[in-house]
């Protein structure tokens, strides 16, 4: 885990403690709790994992093991505009890889990273269920269909 200490807002911490309580501090509800925690903080830094461990009375290692097992949980803060490229099979055969390359190049980040200014983060996901529109890109909750490498600039421009 990273050595940089993250300052957590007190009210967010209290909210998390309440969440744990609402699940009766039951270790079986760990994944449920982590989902809620991620929606409170946006991501799951070590400090948050420590609180969850303390509240559910389980080792931090166990929490860390679960967080790192599931790709939905992230220990890196997302950008203001999280970009997700669908790499499901339908999108892959309709050229998603080229679109991904273009995003990487334009933003100068790799998959899983956030741009220095914190504006964009880049991730892949598998099939958002809109295969008819392949290749599909999501920025936040907004879906873009039939994206070509040429169209990448236009999408980014909307958020600049």
């Amino acid at each position: 885990m990273s050595s940089i200490k993250v300052e957590l807002h007190e009210n967010q911490v209290n909210e998390l403690v309440e969440v744990c309580k609402s699940f009766s501090n039951d270790p079986f509800e760990l994944i449920h709790v982590l989902h809620k925690a991620q929606s409170i903080f946006g991501y799951l830094p070590a400090e948050v994992q420590e609180i969850v461990a303390r509240e559910l009375k389980i080792p931090v290692a166990k929490v860390y093991g679960v967080v790192t097992f599931y790709s939905f949980f992230s220990m890196i803060p997302k950008g203001q505009n999280p970009i997700s490229i669908c790499m499901g099979t339908a999108c892959y055969v309709r050229g998603a890889e080229k679109v991904l390359e273009e995003f990487k190049r334009k933003l100068a980040v790799e998959v899983g990273e956030t741009t220095k200014d914190g504006r964009f983060s880049l991730n892949c996901l598998r099939c958002v269920g809109a295969c008819g529109l392949a290749p599909v890109v999501m920025v936040g909750d907004k879906t873009y269909g039939r994206v070509s490498p040429d169209g990448v600039q236009e999408i980014l421009a909307e958020y600049m």
């Binding site: 270790p27 079986f28 509800e29 760990l30 994944i31 449920h32 982590l34 989902h35 093991g65 679960v66 097992f69 599931y70 790709s71 939905f72 949980f73 790499m87 499901g88 099979t89 339908a90 999108c91 892959y92 055969v93 309709r94 080229k98 390359e101 273009e102 190049r105 996901l125 598998r126 099939c127 958002v128 269920g129 809109a130 295969c131 008819g132 529109l133 392949a134 599909v136 879906t143 269909g145 490498p149 040429d150």
Partner: protein, 597 residues
């Protein structure tokens, strides 16, 4: 309830929602209010119609007119012309690509002609957020029937005799599974719905949950009655927010109507359902991993036996079934085992939903009787290959399945036939690839997926698949040798034989089936260092043919790395050392001057 005379159904599946069908609905509603028609005409946001390629889709009842590709801007015309003047909006009707005729009724479209909708029977017909609409189409009638007329054992017998097999991939007899869970002795049992749908490129389960959540709830309750469980859990992917939302609404409504909770239909039967969320791990679709994940653990599979039906969630007998499996239960109860088993092939009964996608004209959800051929699905329902390209292969069964070719097109689709030709049914993903797709890259794509998704518990899968991926990567880079092909095959066999769970036991299938069916492509990569499909970048060079180049500068302007030099009206040249082989110049050149080899 207000009785509306006309219903406008708008698809609210994920695909159509992404194309702004929400705005379309609100615009239609506003138009109706402006014209004082909102009492007579109702706009309903339904689940997926299946014909995603043509979305957003709008259907007007009772006229039964089917509009395709409808934009929010078209709302005015639909109301002003169709609803007020009774004239169909011709330009929004579906055009048959062959005859060029405009078709107004779904029944006349090749996409729907050969389909038989059992699991999807309500998708696109009802408002999934209204329990009344579900009940109007026999929702909860099967539950009422089993609770008031049948014993649990009689119900299990019906499911057994129907011949229904699990739609989640394994194809295990559903009736038998229920029987085993029913016979397991315990103070508490559980019923689980597997809605993890991990196959990338498949969206059957999602569409059922989004379009007809009540059918799943009803079937889980029936399962609870049969097996003696009073608690149901749906394990659903967090990536499916719309399905989660609709399921939550449906559960709440069912509770309000007394269809979940205590003493259902006054019969003393108790049953309730909770949700559990997945967190992005393919292996959690495997039932033992799924159960561990529901217990708040890492989703690592464990050895079977014991099977979940004997020892599952919290160590109690747990019946795990897939969403689509459940969606078949109510019709089987209402229409009988005989009806269901009259559909399909000898050993695979009923229908199967496929998510047809890739290089095919009609991407969408397709439900066909077992025994339909791949040719019918791809060329009749799917309308053939996009852009008149040549069909190369169809991939079924997702990362566990294989690629089938031209010679398999006339085989009737069922569990056993697909396995016999080296693929499998899987959960129903069906990806079409054409002549432009490299099969080595395709195998590499799936292995990349497996490597990422392997839980790492056992070494054949964790290390073996990684090695397979590396060999495939070497081949696509033009550095492979003939010996590598043997290595691929041997390693694949070992991984299949020695992995702990279904993931590792099937992950080499994409490699083996492409080696079997496309050996010539592998050989072209390792012997001639060529990629026949022209997809492997490292094996390509881009160059400009001086004779054709007019010096329009179009290529130089799109080149992302400024690898193209040349003055206006003079011949341009690509610097191979700089070129990243993106293909942009090839697409841009109007004079056929850019070549790739």
């Amino acid at each position: 309830m207000i009785k509306h005379k006309i219903h406008i159904l708008v698809c609210g599946g994920t695909g159509c929602k992404s194309s702004n069908s929400d705005l379309l609905v609100s615009t239609l509603r506003n138009e109706l209010i402006e014209n004082g028609l909102d009492k007579e005409v109702q706009v309903v946001l339904t689940g997926c119609f299946g014909f995603c390629e043509q979305g957003p889709i709008v259907k007007v009842l009772p006229d039964n007119i089917f509009y395709v590709g409808v934009k929010p801007d078209d709302a005015h015309e639909i109301i002003a012309e169709h609803i007020i003047k009774g004239r169909k909006v011709q330009r929004l009707l579906y055009v048959d690509p062959k005859t060029k005729e405009r078709i107004q009724d779904a029944k006349g479209m090749n996409f729907y002609k050969k389909q038989l909708r059992i699991a999807l029977r309500n998708c696109g017909f009802i408002d999934p957020e209204s329990i009344d609409e579900s009940i109007a189409r026999d929702g909860y009638a099967a539950l009422a029937k089993v609770l008031t007329e049948l014993t649990p054992a009689e119900t299990v017998q019906i499911v057994k005799q129907s011949g229904l097999r699990g739609r989640g991939g394994g194809g295990f007899s559903t009736g038998l599974k229920w029987e085993i869970t029913a016979k397991s002795q315990a103070d508490q049992k559980y019923v689980v719905c597997n809605a993890d749908e991990g196959d990338p490129g498949a969206f059957m389960d999602r569409s059922i949950l989004e379009g007809d959540p009540h059918t799943v709830i009803e079937a889980m309750a029936i399962n609870g009655y049969c097996t003696g469980a009073d608690k149901g859990l749906v394990y659903i992917r967090a990536e499916y927010p719309l399905a989660i939302e609709r399921l939550k609404i449906a559960i709440k409504q069912a509770r309000e109507y007394g269809l979940l909770g205590q003493d259902i239909f006054g019969t003393g039967f108790n049953f309730d359902i909770d949700l559990r969320y997945g967190a992005g791990a393919f292996v959690c679709g495997e039932e033992t991993a799924l159960i561990h994940s529901m217990e708040g653990e890492r989703g690592e599979p464990t050895f079977k036996p014991p099977f979940p039906s004997e020892e599952g969630y919290l160590g109690k007998p747990t019946n795990v079934n897939n969403v689509e499996t459940y969606a078949n239960i109510p019709p089987i109860i209402l229409q009988g085992a005989e009806w269901f088993s009259s559909i399909g092939t000898e050993k695979s009964k009923g229908t199967k939903v496929f998510a047809l996608a890739g290089k095919v004209n009609n991407v969408g959800l397709v439900e066909v009787p077992m025994g339909t051929t791949l040719r019918e699905v791809i060329f009749e329902i799917g309308g053939g290959i996009k852009g008149n390209k040549k069909f190369k292969a169809v991939q079924t069964g997702g990362p566990s399945g294989g690629c089938l070719t031209e010679k398999h097109l006339d085989i009737p689709i069922d569990y056993d036939n697909l396995i016999a030709c080296g693929s499998m049914m899987g959960s129903g993903g069906m990806i079409i690839v054409d002549e432009d797709d490299c099969m080595v890259s395709m195998a590499k794509y799936y292995l990349d997926f497996t490597v990422e998704e392997s839980c790492g518990k056992c070494s054949p899968c964790r290390i073996g698949n990684k090695r397979l991926y590396e060999i495939l990567e070497t081949i696509t880079k033009g550095k492979g040798t003939v010996e590598d092909l043997d290595r691929l095959r041997n390693l694949s066999e070992v991984i299949k034989d020695t992995s702990l769970c279904g993931l590792g036991q099937t992950s080499p299938n994409p490699v083996l089936s492409t080696l079997d069916n496309f050996l010539d492509e592998y050989e072209a990569h390792v012997k001639d260092h060529k990629c026949p499909a022209g997809q492997c970048r490292d094996l390509m060079t881009y160059w400009i043919e001086p004779e054709n180049c007019v010096g329009c500068t179009a290529c130089a302007r799109v080149c992302p790395v400024s690898a193209i030099s040349g003055e206006r009206k003079e011949v341009h040249i690509i610097d191979a050392a700089l070129c990243i082989k993106c293909g942009a110049c090839l697409e841009k050149c109007k004079f056929n001057a850019v070549y790739v080899s």
